[in-house]
Symmetry: C2
């Protein structure tokens, strides 16, 4: 791969992603000032840090979502997760943002846990493993603070019966060639993975309203397929709001990966581990020596601790501006930036784990007997 090359698929993100280029390739829209102002108007509170900092940067039909909202037609939110052994900080991004949107708009949220896909995609995993990971991940998702009566979290393997009639209708509209070219699959791909897009598309049709999907931009291929077929089935094209990838700790390229432990901070990492990972592994754009740093300042474009602060952890714009200025000019050292980040990460994780303790008590509400969950179990989608 050449220096300026990058790759973004639902299963692989590598290289230095050029997000402008990606929007062109995928044919998505930049989130405009007008849209941001409208969200600001509606929310009557400070814009979410991920919108202010352009982490959620691209969209399709977000303007139509806002129009439907204004006109009282409403909309609903849908996001999801392929369960993994542990969730890391990067995995929280879509959920933190989706929760904020739920708070602002007071709408239903559907969260699909794709234990089937995770199992079928990876030769080494058993369904027992992906199901156990699903349970653990769901506890983390609940801890984000969704409204239990307006949120339905479901595992594909459990909810399939309710979805299956509509899944077959979607599957009938997609052929091997389309799925192959959209996802880069081939003739050796297993039939479960070939079929799977129908299952990820179904929740976009859970309500007869427009669906808004907050997710990292790598998921966009699914939504392109959805948008091609939705209207022929009597549903609306899904709208999306796309995020960038939180860079992995050890390099400013690609995305954080569960398979390289030192590249990620896990939600279960104890404070000492977090500190050690950040101090030891976080890729720095600072200079090699204190003297040089004082003189030249840091290269913020490759500095991971700086970027993590910017993406998620430093909510205060003035403070962020100060760090940007001081660090880039050499008035701040890498060690200080790392220490600031470690403190903030540990604060978030501590609070997260406190809430996660209570997740077990709320589990059945989100999955089975909360107001929305109950309604969804009574519904067969067709």
């Amino acid at each position: 791969m050449q220096e300026d090359e990058f790759k973004v698929t639902p299963w692989e993100v590598s290289g230095k992603v050029d997000y402008e280029k990606l929007m062109q390739q995928f044919g998505t829209q930049k989130i405009s000032r007008e849209i941001l102002e409208e969200i600001s108007d509606i929310s009557r509170q400070k814009m979410h840090v991920m919108l202010r900092r352009n982490i959620f940067f691209s969209h399709r039909d977000l303007d139509l979502i806002l129009k439907d909202y204004r006109e009282g037609k409403g909309f609903f939110l849908y996001t999801g997760r392929a369960p993994s052994m542990g969730m890391h900080i990067g995995h929280l991004v879509p959920f933190l943002f989706t929760k904020w949107l739920q708070d602002i708009f007071n709408v239903n949220v559907y969260i699909e846990i794709t234990d089937d896909e995770k199992f079928m995609r990876n030769q080494d995993y058993t369904l027992k493993q992906t199901s156990e990971w699903a349970y653990q991940n769901i506890l983390d998702i609940i801890a984000v603070g969704f409204n239990p009566d307006k949120t339905f979290i479901f595992k594909d393997t459990e909810y399939i019966r309710n979805m299956y009639p509509l899944v077959t209708a979607i599957a009938k509209k997609l052929n091997f060639s389309q799925v192959k070219s959209t996802f880069g699959l081939d003739v050796s791909s297993n039939i479960g993975i070939l079929f799977y897009p129908a299952i990820q598309i179904v929740p976009t049709m859970f309500e007869n309203k427009r669906c808004l999907i907050p997710a990292a931009i790598d998921q966009d291929p699914y939504w392109r397929l959805q948008r091609d077929l939705a209207e022929s089935l009597g549903y609306r094209k899904a709208a999306e709001i796309h995020s960038k990838f939180l860079p992995p700790l050890a390099s400013s390229d690609g995305k954080m990966s569960s398979s390289i432990p030192e590249s990620a901070v896990y939600l279960s990492d104890p404070p000492k581990t977090v500190e050690k990972k950040i101090m030891k592994y976080a890729f720095s754009g600072g200079q090699a020596t204190t003297e040089l740093q004082r003189k030249l300042g840091a290269d913020l474009k490759v500095d991971v601790p700086y970027q993590w602060l910017y993406y998620i952890f430093e909510d205060n714009d003035d403070e962020m501006e100060r760090i940007t200025r001081d660090y880039s000019k050499g008035n701040m050292l890498t060690g200080e930036v790392k220490a600031t980040l470690a403190r903030k990460v540990n604060k978030l994780l501590e609070e997260h784990r406190e809430r996660r303790e209570k997740s077990k008590d709320e589990f059945s509400k989100f999955l089975y007997d909360g107001k929305l969950a109950k309604h969804m179990w009574e519904k067969i989608h067709s």
Copy 2:
């Protein structure tokens, strides 16, 4: 297609099928005298007409099924049906025979109703249609007389949740190339149909015993895939007993088709219609005039009324021998053979419809709350 060519796939049977050749192509075994004698020994009753007349003619591992039975390990039966607007006489063949096997061996029977596949295979059908057909077909199947506490009839769209974990495990073992070459699919095939073999294979693993599948030989490709992967998932290779195709009324080639009404006698056809169809459309091997027939006799190899009597309707071997002799020698006329057949078909249909009246009362037993059905709904296959 040349005269001696024929085609047998799960969706198309055409030409004059050479069953000997088919056994060679598919790599199946002829049902031997030894096996027939053993079944006779176990059953302690007259051999089923379809075994005596070689309608069920080919198998895989039927010897192992009998061995498992003798050794007390047991086995189970599995067959199925892709729902269609109406069931015809040919559709009854596997069910009549499976019921006989259930009576003889006192084993569980699983009957899969593939409403999903039927819908996904045909652009013109809606899932609502295939579901309604499924209901009507199930009433016909129940009327065959299965043991309600040892038989589970299920629609794929309803039972999918219980099957799905195991479906994903099977799907993971099959890739596009295999499914393509096994079923003659291609890159324009929809992903539902590509995925479907995993769903038809799953019931072969419903019990931790050997499974015997009585079905027409066109379904064999599914079982070949099953036999390649079953052991890697900890299950046994499925055994099969294959039937020939009841020839369509209007020609001795291919198989009866629901899409050519005059080629089939429907289970709902009133007596007058049955008579008319047989008298008017049934392809005769008799001579053009009474005189020629008296002189030359009929060509039994192409005579459909004769073949129907032979396949199903004339259970009495002595009487069948008499008809064979008299009709081939010209002592019997086509009209007499047709009239005999019409009488017997109407008798079977009348009895069938009487039993079908009661099917509605037994419906929920077979699908939901009979002894086996209840057990199956509590079970998640994985």
